[in-house]
């Protein structure tokens, strides 16, 4: 259920994102989805890739600060209110979303939303109870 995501620390100055992506590319790692959280001084790049371990190794070896975090990927019904329904479930369960980002899968042509929770197990339980399908990790890596 849980999908492994790579997070990279970056200073907020020109060329930093390009440098990170170059290392990932050089290792032959393909990016499935990404999001960038930024402040005036620094940013955190979050990456979904096809080969997490190879991506982490490439970034660490090139001197970047990296961590691997576990997130959940949820398929969102392609209709108005689709995402709102999911957030209602989370809210009723008292679960706080640390951050989230969305992407569209070319293979399934479905919208997917990545969630980071403080308590992922409780989130899995709440979502499954509400009949919302979570995307398997392998599916995300091989999108």
């Amino acid at each position: 259920m849980k999908v492994r995501q790579i997070s990279v620390f970056m200073e907020n100055r020109s060329g930093r994102l390009a440098s990170v992506l170059r290392e990932v590319a050089r290792a032959g790692v393909n990016i499935r989805a990404l999001s960038l959280a930024d402040t005036s001084d620094f940013g955190i790049l979050r990456l979904m890739v096809d080969n997490v371990d190879a991506g982490v190794k490439a970034l660490r070896d090139s001197g970047h600060t990296v961590s691997v975090t576990e997130v959940l990927a949820v398929e969102v019904p392609d209709r108005p209110g689709g995402l709102a329904g999911i957030l209602d479930v989370l809210s009723e369960a008292g679960l706080n979303v640390e951050y989230m980002y969305a992407f569209v899968s070319r293979a399934t042509e479905k919208a997917m939303v990545v969630f980071r929770f403080e308590q992922p197990d409780a989130a899995i339980e709440a979502l499954q109870k509400a009949g919302i399908s979570l995307v398997e990790a392998e599916t995300v890596y091989s999108l």
Partner: protein, 433 residues
């Protein structure tokens, strides 16, 4: 001159007085402070060996770390019943150096601070605005007692609240200003923003110290404030402000050497340097009762001026404006900061040894300190608020430990320049020397 009898004492007589005082100082220190007894014994010197001021070179030096190792009261020669005041200065590892004053010490210090004000022409008619910090730091209380001793009116403003400083300076007809040179410029700048013309005020002298400054800053201050900008020197281990002050000649600081005996030594060999040559300034506190100080190495670099008698009539020797430090101490907005203190704070935060760089600059008239910290995986959080919490925590602890506000910038690993594997810790962009 506040005290012409002392300040214009013939040099031969001054040397004899210094010799007498040195003898009694060494006896006091040897008799009451185990630290000095052990040092003198080790150096093979007895109090009887000291017969005149020229024998001072036989005595061992005292350094800041020794002072600090005696924390809190190991350097005290007087019993607590005779101590009436305690001040402390920032230390390199969080433990300050502690100085106790007897009533006589406070009297002597007030006398020297009054002489300092007299160097700028102060009389009992004056109103002295003391905008140095009051507290453990000696600046505020030192000048306050000096103003009162002079018979002038002391205005105990402490530092900060600049608009009120300007209002009272104007409404009270302040004639003498005591603060850091950068704060003097800050006052002028804020006054300009408020539309106040300070050049019309009856100010006549400013006693500026507690941080390094330059001739260029003096000219700048004198362009924006209608006063003679004078350099004042002091340090808490020796007394506080009023160890030395420039007279209106504005050429070197008169050392009140009947109380504070100055020497210049080679920082590496410890050998005395001839007058007119640069070296480390060393002080012996000839009259101190609370904490007698023998040949204390200040780590400040300056020289004893090699010139004839000063036209002002004072017979004491003069030191040049400070030219730097023998250690890595930074003075930021009047506060002493050692890079090792910053390191201590960082290590304590997550138990890691991150690479860091302290960048000091002067924006407008105020010193700024930025600390760049490389984010290691131990420190990294993949959430923005986690990193912001880390940054705020460092900021808060630096402020608590050092009493200086620093901008904390989180940077990527390996972005701080390393020379031969050793990281450079400080970048000072202020160009003060």
């Amino acid at each position: 001159m506040f005290n012409p009898k002392e300040e214009a004492r013939p040099v031969g007589e001054l040397r004899r007085l210094q010799g007498e005082r040195l003898k009694s100082l060494v006896q006091r220190a040897y008799g009451h402070v185990p630290f000095y007894r052990a040092k003198l014994d080790e150096a093979g010197v007895t109090p009887e060996d000291i017969r005149g001021i020229e024998d001072i070179v036989r005595l061992p030096f005292t350094v800041k770390t020794e002072f600090r190792d005696q924390y809190p009261f190991g350097m005290f020669a007087a019993p607590m019943k005779d101590i009436v005041r305690i001040h402390a200065s920032s230390g390199t590892t969080g433990k300050p150096t502690v100085v106790g004053y007897t009533r006589e010490d406070i009297d002597n210090w007030a006398e020297c601070a009054a002489r300092s004000l007299g160097c700028g022409g102060a009389t009992a008619e004056d109103t002295v605005q003391v905008a140095y910090g009051y507290g453990l730091f000696t600046g505020g209380l030192g000048m306050h007692y000096g103003a009162e001793r002079m018979g002038a009116a002391a205005l105990p403003m402490s530092a900060g609240n600049t608009e009120k400083q300007i209002m009272l300076m104007k409404d009270f007809g302040v004639t003498i200003l005591c603060c850091t040179p950068s704060y003097a410029l800050q006052i002028a700048e804020v006054a300009a923003q408020m539309g106040e013309d300070l050049m019309k005020l009856p100010l006549k002298a400013g006693h500026f110290g507690a941080e390094p400054w330059t001739e260029a800053m003096r000219r700048h201050i004198e362009e924006v404030l209608p006063l003679k900008a004078l350099d004042i020197y002091g340090l808490s281990e020796v007394a506080g402000p009023g160890v030395a002050n420039e007279c209106l000649e504005q050429h070197g600081l008169h050392v009140f050497e009947d109380h504070f005996y100055p020497e210049i030594i080679h920082p590496e060999t410890g050998e005395p340097m001839p007058d007119g040559e640069k070296g480390e300034l060393v002080f012996t506190c000839l009259t101190k009762q609370g904490v007698p100080l023998i040949r204390y190495r200040t780590r400040d670099i300056t020289m004893l001026l090699d010139e004839g008698p000063c036209p002002c009539g004072r017979t004491s020797r003069k030191i040049a404006r400070l030219m730097g430090r023998t250690d890595d101490m930074l003075i930021i907005r009047g506060v002493n900061v050692f890079p090792s203190q910053v390191e201590d704070v960082l290590v304590r935060i997550e138990g890691v040894h991150p690479q860091y760089l302290i960048v000091v600059d002067r924006q407008g008239n105020l010193d700024t300190m930025e600390i760049r910290v490389e984010v290691t995986e131990e420190l990294f959080s993949d959430e923005v608020r986690g990193l912001e919490a880390l940054r705020d925590k460092i900021h808060h602890q630096i402020k608590a430990m050092l009493n200086v506000s620093a901008k904390i910038t989180l940077v990527e690993p390996n972005t701080i320049e390393r020379t031969l594997g050793k990281a450079k810790r400080v970048q000072d962009l202020r160009k003060l020397t």
